[in-house]
Structure formats: C-alpha cells, structure tokens
Symmetry: C2
Subunit: 356 residues, 2 copies
C-alpha cells in the first residue's frame, strides 16, 4: 500500500494506537505490543492495549469499554488473532459479534498461526479491512516479536560504546567511562524492556558488573558465556537479584555446575564450535525459555563471535566524543569539542576540534 | 558581546559578508578570507572580497566600487588592517578618508601586527566600531588563518574513515572503499582548498595514491613522511603533477636525496624523536614555507603520532555504515541498514539493522 492510500485520519488514529501499544513495553513479552482504538464518525468511542503477558488483548480491552461498537471502525496495529491453543480466546469472533464495520490494521501478524487468516475471516463475515496503515512504524514497534515468532530465537541487539577513533578501551584495558551518564541510563532503560542480557566471562571477571536495569524497571535475565566455568561464587551476577544463566561447555567442572544449580543458577551446556561455545545453539535454547530479546553487551570477543556468525539483528553503538589513541586511561583521553555531524550519502562526517 | 546586542540587519549583512569572503577559499592562503559590504539606509551600496593572495583587500575592493561612501556603514568579517610591511597598503586610512561613519566587524584580527590597533585607529578618527557580530561563524571561517598567524605553523586536519565498528581497514589490510564516492569527493574538495596534504611512506608503497584534488581545483603540496627514504622513483606522488616534499631522516641516503632534488622534489631533513621523524619540527618548517593548512590522511601510524604529539587541530572522521569485524575485504563487509542517529548528551547513538 502506498502512503497516499491512507488518510490523515487513519494516520492520526494509528499514531494513537502505537502510543497505546507502547504502554505494554517490557510487560507483554514474548507477546507483541498491541493498541486499539474504536472510532465512529471521527470520534473515539474507546481505547485499549495489551497490558501484560497472558492478559486480555487490546481489541478485547477496547470492545469491553465500548458501549455501542455497531458500525464503528476499529484501529489496531497488528492483525487480530483467530487461533486457539493460547492463553486467551481469539479476537476475530468477538470483533465480528460486536458489529464493528471496518478494521484498519498496520501490519499482518507474522505468526504462522495467524498470517492473514484473521483478515480473511473478518472479510468473509462482511467486516471491511484496510491493511498496511503506518506499517513501517508498526513493524519497528514489534521488531522483537516479529523476529521471535518467525524464528523462535531472540532478537539480538549488539550494544557497544566506541571512542571517535574506534576504540572500546585503552591499550591498558581501561573503558570507564567512555559513554556519558545519560547514555548509560539509556542502556539501563533498554535492559528493563529486554528479556535477557549477555556478556562473556572476561567482562564478569574484569568489571564485576551487576547487569541489572539499575532501578529503571524489571531486570533482564543475565546470561554469561563461560566455556571453562571460571565464574567466582562471589561475583555480582550470582547475587540472586535477578535470574542468571551460565552457558558453559559440556566438559566443564561437573561439581561446580551442580553447586551453581543448587544456588538457583541456570546452566546451559553447549558444544564448542571453533573453540567457542556454539552461540547459535544457545539462542535456540534461550528461545525455548521464552526469551524473545537479548542484548549482547560485550566484551569484544563476544561481540566478534555474534557478528561473525551473523546473529546480530540490531546494533546500538554509542559513539563518544573522545580520542583515545594511545592514552592509558579513558579519563585522560582528548575531548573533541564543537562536534558537527553531516550525512554524506550513506556516511556520517564528524567534524570537531582538539586543543580548544 | 551577547547575541542580542546585534540586530537582524547586522546579521543579514554579516551573513552576506561571510558568503562573499568564502569566494576566496583556496585562493588567498595564507591570508584570511575577507568579505565586505557597504550599506546606507539599509541599502547595499557596494560589495567586495579578497580575491587572491597579494590582491586588494575586501574593504578596498568595496570602497573602489562605491560612489558615495560618506556616512555609510561598512560590514567586514575581520578587523581592517593598519600595518605596513606587506603586499598592499593598510585599509584603515582608506576607510577613514572615505567618510565611512561606522564599521561593523565580526572578529578582531589575531595577527599581532593588528590585534585591535585597527579598531583603535578608526575610533580615534571618529569612526564608530561595533565588534563581535557573528564572531563564532567568522572565526570558523578563518580557523586556518587564526592558527597560522598565531603560531606560524599550519592548521592540522586529521582525516580518517572508519567502519561503524571502528576499523580503518580489514585484518588483511584492505580499505577500498570504506567511504562512499560522495565522501571521497568531499575529501578531494577539501584538498583543493588546503595548502598541503601529508601521508606516511607506507601509504605510498601500499596504495600508490596521487594525493591530488582529482580535478576539483588546485592541488595541495604533497608531503611524504619517509624516514628511511624508501620512496620508489616510479610512484605517483613523484609524477610532477604538483609539488612534492619528502620529509626524511638526516641520516637517510644522501645520493638518493640529491637525485630527488634534481627532479624538483623538496627534501626536508629532520631529526628522529622516539624513532619517528620529529613532526613538530616539520610543522615549523612547513609554516616557514607559507603552508598554513595541512590535511593528515594516514595511515594509522602517522595519525597516531600526530594525535600523540597533540598536533591535530581538527578531525574530519567519516563513519561508514559497515561492520568489518573479521571480514577479509571491505566489499564483503556487512551493511548496516536504516541507520538513525540520536544525540544523547555528548554521545551519538547509532541504531541500525543487519540481516535485513
């Protein structure tokens, strides 16, 4: 559908739908975020959104609050469901029974159990359907769900911080702090709406991170890649503040594995592939645990493996206005001032000043 | 001066002055770019700019074309000159004699021979002066001149191209082409308005570059850092298409030096400092040759030395939407799609997608 095929009114209501859907962020996973608005003669009769995993769908929420939905138009960002065998009954029959005349949908459901069937059932019963209104925005909203429902493996976000000269740390290994406080806060927020976070054992040994959302919301499941099971019992990621899973070699210390299991730590045993844990298999296992999104936060070896195996879906790179070059500590790195950024074709030209 | 201290009219005319000044870009070095507008009752009487090194100053150009400058206001981006001992007579006496009532100036002349004296002389003779109108823009326009006139060494621009994951080349050394065609064109344009360009001998040996402006304007002087005088006689930078200077160790092959000199190649002999040519001394020597601006274009060893010695004034970093990671050739690097950039405090957050 071309952009011009939908009206300003369509756009206005669908924007509201997306705004409503976002209220479920971090609470509905691995379900999609869905919002719904019921409209008659340009007036909003009721609204709804999917509030928590297992809770009523957005369409049902909106219908429940609507006194007279007969001949009204329903706006919803995802194709209404028509399948059974899940926590809540399907929405399509309820929409048909309500007397709704028309459904405006942003994107079809990529779930093979729906995948256009919802729309077909509505049409058969005489409910008009308009699809692809603000589809791009709707797809971005549910990028995690779309990947997960299709592949049963999590949507992988690689998060890195680089200096302007492309360094993640100094030669002596210092990386505190390349990115600004606000950037780190952004990462904590991201963690609160992501199912799991992954780092390698070297990051655990070196930085002893907590890998929580630092009070910004729910904590993600912590996944540690630790081939040789080197993790110390006293480390922060074993503090029980949130669930931790250690991915380790089939051959690593069996006694330590049992001890960790008794502490409530999850253990995933993996075969090796090129001397590195088989992370493709790990993603399949995490997917089976309903982990639909995963942030990979480093270090460099881990990032390299995910990139090499083409397992990264999205990058989030913080580029920080410093030149590390051969500086020993990040805090002594040269600050680049008065930075301007210009887009040149697909490149970004950073201009800035030193010694000012 | 606060921004509010100048009027919309001041801003309008000073913008025109800066636009005129820019017409001299690449032609007036090591002089500053200067534009001038003469205005009476809000109407432009005449305009001028400094067209070429040794040519008349902008103020004189504008006065020459102005029929009746009496009681008019002159706008000029740099304080008018008052000193002798240079190619053209000073502007201040000519402004005073013309009957101009007021001079609006963007920035004082950092040249110690002027440095406020021009303004003082105007005031003594009853010409009003308003200084610091659009000072920031005017200083940026003449950043090269300002550095050079104060230090007698060139303004150094470090130009680099990085992949999003901070690489300048693949592990096997391939770097063709990280940046887009348009970005490379931007660099050629930059070369045409810069006095000199510098690379290390390894870049010459590996890429055999021409280091010209590729038809975009005048060619910069080519400066090659070549400690051991390894340069082959057949290489492109010795093609005579533009001036080339080789900076080499005092101890390198004397016979080869003489042969190169006979070919018209400049030879600068330098002592070593930490096994690297003393580039601080090189900048002093280049400054003496009226080279007021220098682009350092790599490779990495050269860039590192300039950064380490804190000799870089400005960076121009092209960040290209590719992930090189462990790819062997740049052309096989993963493209990052649908990139968005958001400023978070002083950091830049790049988001983008792989496998789409």
């Amino acid at each position: 559908m071309k952009k011009t095929d939908y009206t300003d009114e369509d756009r206005k209501f669908m924007q509201l739908v997306i705004k409503l859907a976002k209220k479920g962020q971090g609470k509905v996973s691995p379900n999609p975020m869905v919002g719904c608005v019921i409209v008659k003669n340009g007036k909003i009769l009721s609204t709804g959104y999917h509030k928590y995993f297992g809770g009523p769908h957005a369409e049902v929420e909106a219908l429940k609050k609507c006194k007279n939905p007969k001949d009204a138009t329903m706006y919803v960002n995802l194709e209404p469901c028509c399948h059974y065998n899940k926590k809540t009954p399907p929405c399509v029959p309820q929409i048909i029974n309500s007397g709704i005349k028309k459904v405006v949908i942003a994107t079809k459901d990529p779930n093979p159990a729906v995948g256009g069937k919802g729309i077909r059932q509505l049409k058969v019963k005489g409910v008009k359907c308009k699809v692809s209104v603000m589809e791009k925005e709707a797809k971005k909203l549910n990028e995690t769900y779309i990947k997960y429902i299709k592949t049963k493996t999590p949507f992988v976000i690689l998060k890195m911080a680089y200096s302007l000269d492309g360094k993640t740390k100094t030669e002596s290994g210092d990386s505190k702090w390349l990115s600004s406080e606000k950037s780190r806060e952004t990462v904590h927020q991201l963690r609160s709406r992501t199912d799991a976070i992954l780092v390698g054992i070297n990051t655990v040994l070196k930085d002893n991170p907590k890998l929580t959302s630092h009070g910004k919301g729910k904590n993600p499941v912590r996944v540690i890649l630790d081939t040789g099971l080197k993790i110390p019992f006293s480390t922060n990621v074993l503090n029980g503040k949130s669930k931790t899973i250690i991915a380790t070699s089939i051959n690593s210390n069996r006694v330590k594995k049992e001890k960790l299991k008794k502490m409530g730590i999850g253990i995933i045993e993996l075969p090796l592939k090129n001397n590195f844990l088989d992370i493709k298999k790990l993603l399949v296992k995490l997917g089976k645990m309903s982990i639909s999104s995963l942030i990979v936060e480093g270090g460099e070896t881990v990032a390299k493996s995910f990139l090499k195996e083409k397992l990264v879906d999205k990058i989030m790179f913080f580029i920080c206005p410093k030149i590390i070059n051969s500086t020993e500590y990040v805090k002594n790195a040269a600050d680049v001032k008065n930075i301007s950024v210009e887009k040149i074709e697909e490149d970004f030209l950073f201009e800035g000043y030193l010694n000012v």
